[in-house]
């Protein structure tokens, strides 16, 4: 036990004192905070970015486009507001567009288009909107721009024009203008997330981003700490330290000590992130949207820790196998890239399944121990799965880790003292039976 502790202490100290550890520990919460604040700021700064020329042959529509609310809720509140990111996106987009009336008087549409095509290419303007005289009948307008995939802008133009035409038609039928206004009023949608603990006002865009962000972090640290173990074991082999270690302590003490020491270092980092994150969020709670606050619950933090620990052991032990089995960095990297596929698969599955976390495929895959740490965590952050599924996945993971740890200690013992020769798979199987 004392020897195990000596190994744990050494491994832990080495990592925690590393510059990269300190930098990552501080930088990640800062990046996270940045992710929360920067989009809003960018949106505010980039507000008057777009200039669209409107060739309004029908007349009156430019005013309608310009008259539509020019700023989202954010401006009205006078602060950072993440709500602006989703349901208010249309209005936000409008805030960034300035419409300029082009006098079409006497000019042929074809010539005008030709002229403005040049100006679009020269980036003098971002687009040309052509509204024909008979727009009321044909409901056909044309938009010329270098980027026609800007859906928020296009949606905004479409809906504004539709409303304007509807208004006009109704007014022509001599409907009371007050009724017309009432009939064409905008709809705004608020989204609510249904959870066991109670329904909260939520923002699907924000949830998506937060889930994604957490999975990216989990994925990154699992790969990072796995490779750290691999390099550590390989260093002991290439620097010929293994023999000294084996002559001083049991192979299991060294192997488990290494796993625990590096695992604890990882846990320290995760713990510091959670504390730093909590401090940042509470300090700047006024600037953080309620959607983030409702996402970052203590439960999420606890699950993050649980799945980090499970993921760490599930992946670190195979990484340690690689370190013990190979002799050079290049070989290690080759095998490691095979292993990272095993981590990338649940990561990709997770990202693609965020919007539909309850599909059968996701459910089954999240119970597979090698995928559990990332996939089950993703499900928990998006739509809390039944407790029995969480419990089963954790149970299976623990069993897998137990098996891997047993196997790992054996492969470690033999592989550590194997210099120079690349072992075949058959040989590695024989190691398991050795002693």
């Amino acid at each position: 036990m004392k020897k195990l502790f000596a190994v744990v202490k050494k491994e832990y100290k080495v990592i925690v004192k590393k510059k990269s550890f300190i930098i990552m520990t501080v930088l990640t919460p800062v990046l996270m905070a940045g992710m929360m604040f920067v989009p809003v700021m960018l949106m505010k700064m980039g507000r008057t970015d777009k200039k669209i020329a409107v060739a309004d042959y029908a007349g009156g529509y430019t005013q309608a486009l310009s008259a539509k609310p020019q700023a989202g809720k954010a401006e009205k509140k006078g602060g950072f507001d993440m709500d602006a990111m989703d349901e208010q996106q249309g209005a936000e987009a409008a805030g960034r567009i300035s419409f300029q009336q082009v006098e079409p008087a006497g000019r042929d549409a074809a010539a005008l288009i030709k002229d403005y095509e040049q100006r679009v290419l020269k980036k003098e303007i971002d687009g040309l909107l052509l509204i024909p005289v008979d727009v009321k009948e044909t409901r056909q307008v044309s938009y010329y721009s270098t980027s026609v995939s800007d859906f928020t802008t296009i949606k905004f133009i479409e809906s504004t024009l539709r409303t304007a035409i509807s208004k006009q038609l109704l007014l022509e039928k001599r409907i009371d203008p007050a009724v017309v206004d009432e009939a064409t009023r905008e709809i705004s949608m608020e989204t609510f997330k249904v959870k066991k603990e109670g329904t909260t006002k939520s923002d699907s865009g924000m949830d998506y981003m937060m889930s994604l962000f957490m999975i990216v972090i989990l994925f990154m640290i699992l790969i990072n700490y796995g490779q750290m173990i691999m390099r550590g074991v390989l260093e002991e082999k290439t620097s010929r330290i293994s023999e000294l270690l084996i002559a001083s302590a049991r192979a299991t003490q060294i192997f488990y000590g290494k796993l625990l020491g590096i695992g604890l270092a990882g846990l320290t980092q995760v713990g510091l992130w959670i504390i730093l994150g909590a401090v940042l969020v509470s300090r700047f709670s006024g600037m953080v949207d309620s959607a983030i606050l409702s996402f970052l619950t203590p439960e999420i933090a606890v699950y993050f820790v649980i799945f980090f620990i499970l993921g760490f052991f599930v992946y670190a032990i195979p990484y340690a196998f690689i370190g013990a089995a190979v002799n050079t960095d290049q070989e290690a990297q080759q095998f490691a890239s095979v292993l990272s596929v095993l981590i990338i698969v649940p990561y990709i599955l997770g990202i693609s399944a965020i919007q539909n976390p309850n599909s059968t495929l996701t459910m089954v895959a999240s119970l597979f121990p090698l995928f559990t740490p990332i996939l089950m965590f993703m499900r928990i952050t998006t739509a809390l799965p039944p407790l029995w599924q969480i419990a089963t996945s954790i149970g299976l993971c623990v069993l897998t880790i137990w098996g891997l740890a047993w196997l790992g200690a054996k492969i470690f013992r033999v592989g550590m003292l194997m210099y120079g020769k690349k072992p075949s798979l058959g040989e590695m199987l024989r190691w398991v039976r050795y002693k």
Partner: protein
Amino acid sequence: MSELALSLQDLVKDFDGKRAVDGISFSVRKGEILGLLGPNGAGKTTTMRMVMDIIAPDAGRVEILGEKFSEAVKDRIGYLPEERGLYRKLKVMDTLLFFGELKGMKAALVRERGRALLQQFQLQGYEEKKVEELSKGMAQKLQFIVTILHDPELLILDEPFSGLDPLNIELVKDIILERKRQGRTIIYSTHLMEYAEKTVDALVMIDNGRKVIDGTLAAVKAEYGHKFIRVQYEGDARFVKDLPYVRSWRDSGREMEVELDDLSRREQLLRDLLGRVAVNGFALSEPSLQNIFIRKVQKGAGA
């Protein structure tokens, strides 16, 4: 209490069908320095690794400090592997702390003894330097400190002099002798027999995985008697090896070592030399271990 620090019985180890160690037996008394001698590839390292339970013997038994090898006994042994290595990124004192604690020492004791040893090896002031910043010689010294840090009853050193400069060879030799004076047992292997000659109490010579000579230094030397003459000369002395009373002849160009059938023939040899070469020196000599080994191996091959 057993008088033996180590005993090996009929150790055998095969690697891929090739026999690396072929039935080696010997024992080491407590408080003795034993040299395990032999050329490169003779099986010295394999034997030591089996003693340290790093590789399992295919046959044979090892008894160490009066018991079968166990985890507990590891704390009482200091092992210097042939393949040296330390954590390159670890600081010197942290290195000592890690390996000391791995041997069951308390941190405070490691610091105290570590400092004293660093002083003795002229490494004081390097406590906070990383191992990778040390010169090769310094790293070797640190490795040696790691080996003796926990004051082991039994030191097992695989080629302790390799890679050391002459000054550090003297230093290591002094430390080995100092340990012996404190009643510790030391076993070391080397292919440099002239070093062994000056320190060992007993020796085991192995060649091709087999033991060829075993005994105390005095006994081994006595067995080969004072039948050697060392001659410093100038000229062509090749005729000497064909003289009927010369058993063996080793020439180094300006000095030769001649083994006689009988020491009484030495005057005959001197007479035969005079006139044919210029003799600068002529003396009785003890056989060097190297000579004994070569003779033994050649005889084995001839038989």
